[in-house]
């Protein structure tokens, strides 16, 4: 039987290497997601502060981060900041910094949206019941905000995992780069390797992101 080229994936430790690369991808995503959720919550609360300077600062930060392609942000930190201040940042730390900055902006906007979407009468009714400010926040506002946040923030996780693929361009060895290495190392024996290896990377990303976004979609429908 003629070799289809698919066997490139299972030759030696090739598949294991791809999975290791995927693990690097996921590590960067998960660390950035964790940090973004923490800083994003704080940033979101900061955005609801009624102070002109705070609001101007938040607006500028949010919109600059949002309007720039993530790849540009990555270049700004990996090449720009390092050059400007003569510090050495590894691709790994640059990636974490950039995705955290970006995730914080996106998460912050979700948190702000969720807080603002709680109608005023919720605060007023709770106050009329004699609750203190802390009690209102803890028992009335927080539970509703969290509920509104869960689906969009799970969606943000898949967006961040997908965006992590960009670190390949600044030279990190993650799943896509590992795929390239496997293709190059086996170019002679497997001329059609690119099809199968990139196909496999495609499927791996799908297998990671699809369950998460399906869950987000389901929660969204349930809690609408």
């Amino acid at each position: 039987m003629q070799d289809t080229g698919l066997s490139i994936l299972f030759r030696g430790i090739n598949f294991l290497r791809l999975l290791q690369g995927l693990w690097v991808t996921l590590q960067i995503s998960l660390i950035s997601v964790g940090l973004s959720f923490i800083f994003g919550t704080l940033f979101g609360m900061l955005m609801t502060v009624k102070n002109r300077f705070v609001q101007a600062f938040c607006w500028l930060y949010l919109n600059f981060i949002r309007i720039m392609p993530q790849l540009v942000l990555l270049f700004l930190v990996y090449f720009g900041v390092t050059r400007q201040w003569q510090i050495s940042l590894s691709a790994w730390s640059s990636a974490i910094i950039v995705f955290t900055l970006w995730g914080t902006a996106e998460m912050g906007d979700l948190v702000r949206g969720a807080i603002v979407s709680i109608p005023n009468h919720q605060y007023e009714s709770a106050a009329a019941l004699g609750m203190t400010k802390q009690q209102i926040f803890r028992f009335v506002i927080l539970p509703q905000t969290v509920r509104r946040l869960i689906a969009p923030s799970i969606n943000l996780i898949t967006r961040m995992i997908k965006t992590t693929s960009l670190v390949e361009i600044i030279g990190m060895v993650e799943v896509l780069k590992t795929g390239q290495q496997i293709i190059d190392a086996n170019r002679m024996q497997y001329p059609t390797g690119a099809l199968w290896v990139y196909g496999a990377v495609f499927v791996l990303y799908f297998l990671v992101c699809w369950p998460i976004s399906t869950l987000a979609g389901r929660l969204e429908r349930k809690w609408r």
Binding site: L71, F79, K162, V201, F206
Partner: protein, 219 residues
């Protein structure tokens, strides 16, 4: 940062910007078409095609554009589908954008109340007229903010085509950093040019969103 270097770089970045704009325009127009077809197929519940559209949307939304691009540019030639860099870049952008546009339009179509269709039918309109004069205009009004957001998103996503050595803004900057080591100047120009392209588009998008919100209140 030196002004002389900035001026020297200006024509290179203009070239890069033109490539970015060309790829974006082609990608966005074709994405709108793909999105329209997919959302209609789902709206009218066309058997088989509907499942294909659903599968495509899930596949496209849950994978990064860079991986889609590499698969199209490096993978597909192995089975005889070999295209130029430009075509591959546009194809990847459409593969990604089609599903985002389809989702935006589908939610627009679904937002139009059934009673609108029923009333239009009872007035004697045929299926095409119902879509053309009743459902489509209302659906697009609802979908416009999401479509505009997708346009901004797709222009941003074109930055990854530099990975297949297509000379867009990103590639020009990367090239100059590598060749001349004038990092600050190259990055400054990169940010300025992306702002020049993206700022008007995103302002237009938020303007459209506000207008549509006013229109909704009148109803």
């Amino acid at each position: 940062m030196s002004v002389d270097i900035l001026l020297e770089y200006l024509p290179l970045f203009v070239q890069g910007a033109l490539v970015t704009i060309k790829i974006s325009l082609a990608g966005i127009i074709l994405s709108l078409l793909v999105g329209l077809v997919c959302s209609y197929v789902q709206y009218y519940r066309v058997p088989v095609l509907r499942q294909i559209a659903k599968g495509y949307i899930e596949l496209s939304r849950n994978t990064p554009m860079l991986v889609q691009l590499f698969f199209i540019y490096f993978g597909l030639p192995k089975i005889g589908l070999s295209w130029s860099r430009e075509v591959c870049a546009v194809a990847a952008l459409v593969f990604l954008g089609g599903s985002y546009m389809a989702e935006a339009m589908r939610s627009g179509l679904e937002a139009v109340d059934v009673i609108q269709t029923e009333s239009a039918i009872s007035l004697g309109m045929n299926r095409f007229q119902v879509m053309r004069f009743v459902v489509f205009p209302q659906a697009m009004a609802v979908a416009l903010p999401a479509i505009a957001a997708n346009v901004v998103f797709l222009i941003k996503e074109t930055s990854v085509v530099s990975a297949i050595a297509l000379a867009d803004l990103m590639y020009v900057a990367k090239d100059l950093i590598g060749n001349d080591y004038n990092t600050s100047e190259a990055l400054f120009m990169l940010v300025v040019f992306y702002l020049l392209i993206l700022l008007p588009v995103s302002l237009l998008a938020s303007y459209a969103e506000r207008r549509i919100r006013y229109a909704g209140y009148g109803a």
